[in-house]
Amino acid sequence: MTTQAFFIGFFGLAAVWFGVVVFRTHSMMRSALALLFSQTALGAMFLGMQAEFLGVLQIMMMATEMSIMAIFMVMFMMDPGGLGEMEMTHQKRLSLVAGFVAFTGAAAVAVLFDWGPVVSVAPDAAQQTADLGLELLGRSMLIFETAGITILTAMIAATAVAILPIEAKTTTNEY
């Protein structure tokens, strides 16, 4: 139990630390990968909390997502290497307020909400995975399907908006 608590605390602190590093560095690449390792530490926290499937899923998904974020940051930002010591922060007051409100809200929910009785022993990982599958295909199916379709629609719409009009592209293939 204490080892478990230790690891949860350790990875929690690691997640926070890497979150801080995101804003301490000038390099876009370091910033993106620091965010990745912050998320990986969150995944490790899930593992510490015996939520194996969630933990592994978090560790897997974030690697791709943050890498893709990294390439966009490097592509679009001036001075992605941070050699010019670019200032990464802006709109400080707004972000301070937003951060404070979000933190207070989350903390309030954590403390004030009635989470029901604590289960003394977590079910084993295989059982959890099976339960999660049944949950996803049962009560929560509508929510996840809606979210999935929405994301897909957004992706197609974003691509459609981003690509050049057809007539502008014909010049390259003319021969």
Partner: protein, 409 residues
């Protein structure tokens, strides 16, 4: 990296009520254009509004100002001035040197590509081969010496240039060549063509990481360089096998169809021209070749696959010519005792036709002009690589079969 722009003359700032600010750091405001001290971005011009306090000292430190500006950072503002390639994605462009010793290019060729991500936005090419054997324009030399020098011009096709020099001198001296000698020369030239075209295949294989082809083509090339007629003819089944194998190699088509296309142009020479549908071949007007039943190979699509096919066809046809020629000449030195006159010769080198004009005076060459195929092809590189993916661009440059040694800049 944005370069430092030139400073606007001082009086301009008094006449135009414009100040410059960073799209990402609104607190940075200057009277003159330049780059942001915090992030290096170009400063954007902005009209001075009524309430904004005019800045007395045009220094760099404005951190006390406009800290609470809530203007939102916009990706469109940030990227709208970057150069754009065809894919529409604005990115920093970088200049990357390829060569002079790059695994996928002929040695001594320096290619500087401006890369926009993985896409080529521009190209500059030059040869770094300082060929001391290049023709000295003033110095006269005797004919044998001249032939030897020209033979050393291009280590990738020594025999073709030796032959070129010989024929130009013979032409100047009015020497007639016996048909058997002419056939022997054809044998030698075609042998060199086979070796050179196998080298083209090996470069193609190396550029595409096609190890099997690289091994086969290199082995055959080594074998053919010094082979006699019988040994050359014994290569035929091997080359047929190679061709058959290439026809059913997966990914080969997708790697070469429609890539590296060139418009038919009078700069195109040799196999590159013949792959573009131009029947440019010095051999097709040579009576000795016509007597041996010479046919030009030709393709029309002008892409890398067409060049591959032309090279393969020519290897086979060169074997036929060697068989018909009956011998491979060793090309001894010409005997042109004290002849004088103007001479001209065209030889179809493995890379295309090379033309030599010279003036002979008392058995000494006093002036010479040389036109080589690679010199013409070098100027095609920009059009060939523009807006191509890096791998395709390098493969297209390789398919020109440039010889840095024969390029005269």
């Amino acid at each position: 990296m944005p370069a430092e722009t030139s400073h606007t003359p001082h009086h301009m700032s008094h006449t135009a009520p414009v100040e410059y600010t960073c799209p990402m750091h609104p607190e940075v405001v200057q009277h003159k254009p330049g780059s942001c001290p915090k992030c290096g971005m170009f400063l954007e011009p902005r009209e001075v509004s009524a309430d904004s306090r005019p800045d007395e000292h045009a220094g760099m430190d404005h951190s006390a100002m406009n800290h609470d500006d809530m203007a939102f950072m916009s990706m469109i503002d940030v990227t709208k001035d970057l150069p754009r390639s065809n894919d529409g994605l604005p990115m920093d462009w970088i200049d990357v040197p390829f060569g002079p010793f790059f695994p996928g290019l002929p040695s001594a060729l320096l290619l500087i590509l401006t890369l926009d991500g993985d896409t080529v936005a521009g190209a500059r090419a030059q040869t770094l081969a300082e060929n001391t054997a290049l023709l000295p324009d003033s110095a006269a030399m005797d004919a044998e010496h001249f032939v030897e020098r020209l033979a050393k011009l291009d280590p990738l096709a020594p025999l073709a240039y030796r032959l070129l020099a010989r024929r130009a001198i013979e032409n100047a001296a009015g020497v007639e060549i016996a048909p058997t000698t002419a056939r022997g020369r054809i044998g030698a030239l075609e042998r060199e063509r086979i070796a050179s075209h196998l080298g083209w295949l090996a470069l193609f294989a190396q550029q595409t990481g096609f190890d099997w082809l690289l091994q086969r083509a290199t082995a055959l090339q080594l074998h053919s360089q010094q082979a006699n007629r019988q040994q050359m003819l014994a290569l035929k089944p091997e080359i047929d096998r190679l061709k058959k194998r290439l026809q059913r190699t997966p990914l080969l088509k997708s790697r070469s169809v429609g890539l590296g296309q060139l418009l038919p142009d009078d700069k195109l020479r040799g196999p590159v021209a013949r792959a573009a549908g131009i029947t440019d071949d010095a051999r097709s007007t040579d009576p000795a070749y016509i007597a041996l039943g010479f046919k030009t190979s030709q393709r029309n699509t002008s892409d890398i696959l067409a060049r591959l096919q032309v090279h393969l066809d020519e290897i086979s046809h060169s074997l036929v010519l060697i068989e018909a020629a009956g011998s491979i000449d060793t090309l001894p030195l010409p005997v042109v005792a004290d002849a004088s006159g103007d001479g001209e010769a065209v030889v179809e080198t493995p890379r295309g036709s090379a033309r030599l004009q010279l003036r002979l005076d008392q058995g000494r060459v006093i002036s010479a002009q040389l036109d080589t195929p690679s010199t013409q092809h070098l100027s095609l590189i920009n059009a060939l690589t523009e807006q191509q993916a890096l791998g395709d661009a390098l493969l297209a440059v390789g398919s020109l079969d440039l010889s840095p040694w024969e390029i005269r800049q």
